[in-house]
Symmetry: C2
Subunit: 264 residues, 2 copies
């Protein structure tokens, strides 16, 4: 199914995904609506992970946390089912990726806790609306992501470094980029850092840890935001016995409008 | 000890409190520093209560959550001890107030989880700095608080109505009051409601559920903020077997500067 013929409302898109008719990345789908990172953990790890997110709101902005065993995100996507409404899932055992899956109906068990976390699509849309072009989108590439030397604040068994994404911003638009993204704490919010990559322990911008190498033009300043890869990386790093997440780029589409996340 | 001769730094004040030399309310102490509501619950209730706070950030702005059994708020007040550094505690059993205490060294047990939540002192200071006089402070009274007909978003065993505080604001300063408090989501943030009290299910502004009756002058608009009484009231309402909280007005003084809570 071509992107241009897809329905644009989140409930319709989720029905399509549930019916197995969309298994591709969700970038560009349902513009104006919030998409979410998904982490699903057993109840035994849930308090520590919730605490980890509470202590690290920039990389881990919580949109909704479902109670143990609950599959419907009643606050952000009423009627949805987290077991079927993500285009592609990843299953981990003891922190190791075991396989991908198109639904998790068979893997679901009592006591699993679902975490929905904000995603950079929301603030990228806001940056573009503010006239700040995004180089990686223009080039049809993935954003460059780096593991930093900044430790996240640990919580219980969860710890690890903060992962950032970097977007080159023309010098004269850096202030605007800070203002625009500051409005969206639910989607990583303001930059973590502007300029010198070495301050984050990043040695070579041209060699990202995830995603594609960035294109910096004369006059561009590297601007770094906390990245939604952090919670998944940290969860994996702590080797929980069992964990489910979305496959990268295959997000959960909520009914929340981007503007509903705006603080001011 | 008179207020004017007190030390002004949070660590010194906490030492004084720990030594038993200050058992009175903390309003006016350590100006410019964040004070916190305290809720302490057994581990069995901690996930649900953390989730409740996550779902209700206006009444329950989390400043720090300590891991089970931990007594030092390492992020907001390093060196402090939550068992001794609050001027007065309240002990509840099955949701019933049993007694007040000057410390909780004997009541402490493994697995207790401490929640520190933002308090209105922070945004009241910001309102006053912005030239918005606070009637109840001028009059040396308590702010008026009301149980509304708005339900908080429930989480597990925790549910109940949102409690609001009301401050009369002159018509021409209402916009400014919204702007100023919006900057402090960690201290209840923007108003929940402006104007008609009936919309919140409040029948008679002159008969608050907590605090003192307010003074409304001609041209004043009632402005309602989510109130830190909510989490304690909700926790009590759910009748946990064991719970400790600060006595009203006897807050925990953190090392955080008010401005550290400001979003923009």
């Amino acid at each position: 199914m071509a992107l241009s013929t897809l329905p644009q409302s989140p409930p319709e898109l989720r029905r399509l995904i549930r019916a197995g008719r969309w298994r591709r990345p969700t970038a560009g789908l349902a513009p104006g609506y919030v998409q979410a990172n998904v982490v699903i953990l057993p109840q035994e790890q849930a308090f520590d992970f919730l605490l980890f997110c509470q202590r690290n709101p920039r990389p881990c902005p919580l949109l909704e946390v479902l109670e143990p065993g609950v599959v419907e995100p009643a606050l952000t996507a009423p009627g949805a089912d987290i077991r079927t409404d993500v285009p592609k899932y990843r299953l981990y055992k003891d922190g190791v990726l075991v396989r991908e899956a198109e639904d998790i109906l068979e893997e679901w068990r009592d006591g699993l806790v679902t975490f929905l976390l904000g995603c950079s699509f929301t603030f990228e849309a806001a940056l573009m609306s503010a006239g700040i072009a995004l180089r990686h989108i223009e080039e049809g590439r993935n954003v460059a992501m780096y593991i930093t030397s900044l430790p996240a604040v640990p919580a219980g068994r969860f710890s690890g470094p903060v992962v950032v994404s970097m977007r080159p911003v023309p010098q004269e638009k850096v202030v605007k980029a800070v203002q625009v993204t500051s409005r969206f704490p639910g989607a990583h919010g303001a930059p973590l850092h502007i300029g010198d990559a070495a301050a984050l322990g990043i040695r070579d911008l041209s060699r990202p840890d995830y995603g594609d190498p960035p294109t910096l033009r004369p006059g561009d300043v590297p601007v770094f935001w906390a990245c939604g890869v952090t919670p998944q990386a940290v969860a994996v790093h702590s080797r929980p016995p069992f964990m489910i997440a979305h496959a990268p780029g295959h997000m959960f589409i909520t009914d929340l409008r981007d503007e509903a996340l705006a603080l001011l």
